[in-house]
Symmetry: C2
Subunit: 170 residues, 2 copies
Amino acid sequence: MAAKRRRTAQQEHAADVATYVAAGGEESVQRVITALFSVTKKLDQWYVRQFADLDLTQGEWSVLAALARAGDTCLTPSQLADLSNVAPSSMTHRLDKMAGRGLLQRRPDESNRTRTLVSLTTDGWALFSAAVRESNVVESDTLRDLSDTERHELARLLEIVIAGLDDIEA
Amino acid sequence: MAAKRRRTAQQEHAADVATYVAAGGEESVQRVITALFSVTKKLDQWYVRQFADLDLTQGEWSVLAALARAGDTCLTPSQLADLSNVAPSSMTHRLDKMAGRGLLQRRPDESNRTRTLVSLTTDGWALFSAAVRESNVVESDTLRDLSDTERHELARLLEIVIAGLDDIEA
DNA sequence: ATCGAATATTTCGTCATCGAAGTTCGACTT
DNA sequence: AAGTCGAACTTCGATGACGAAATATTCGAT
């Protein structure tokens, strides 16, 4: 039962923020960033479990999702490596395995033969869809205490952040 | 210049959400979750770069941060593995390395000699503090388009989510 | 008191990932 | 038109992470 916990997640979170502030972080920044990672960390744990049912690692999922988001457009191994936050050399073996399972296919780019074009197979799309519907369950649970208005507001604020992300690294 | 991009991050994000919804996800859920991971993914990229300056991998950072958040309380390797989202067996070598660098120390627990207690050294605390101040820079940049009121609201909404996290897995 | 189950840590074999070097191809220069 | 530079992908050696088994200690039951 939840009442047995000595410290609630809220108190835990507040203490963590205090630690980062004491070490030199700004309060208004750390409060948001720490909360962000608390949520995604829990989500990551659940993804590992759920994807195991589908014989899918997080690395494979990131490839699957990147290709699905690209829609009809084929992607190159380099692009997939970028989108998956992984070294290009790591993508070779990962694509080998996934192609072996029939999730995707590689074909040479006719217009530029140094490139390889990767696209999802029907099985790949089916697995993507299954994974989305599975993960939507825990994601929905995660947000269950937020009203529709609050979800909308949360999305709006995060989208403001996203809009500014690409201009920062310059 | 930002105007050169064909699709803005906003449009990209909207298209991604549409893909997940088409695959069977709920719109109000996917809009939030997708945005969440967009932000943390970019942050992760920056952390890798910044921590490289301090000779720190993300795995080592998670150990450092967990010990710092624990404050005076010592943690066991198992607890650190849980908090870092890695297998307990992976923690052994990681602690070996960090102890070798003088960042932390291991000592046997007198009251239960199957346990080992890990705590930060002065050097460990110093590195933690340096890392927090470094990462606060990009984190602050990330939130630069949000007003104080908006940051507060964003933190508030995320904290609602956090408060419900522990009751879900049951 | 002793035996058995449970917990905490480490060791070991295997696989994934990384960075660097190698290979092949396209683009640009002269 | 040949040569050089750069880009894309792969191969290779080394490091890190995982799961299963081994070791050591505690707790509970007979």
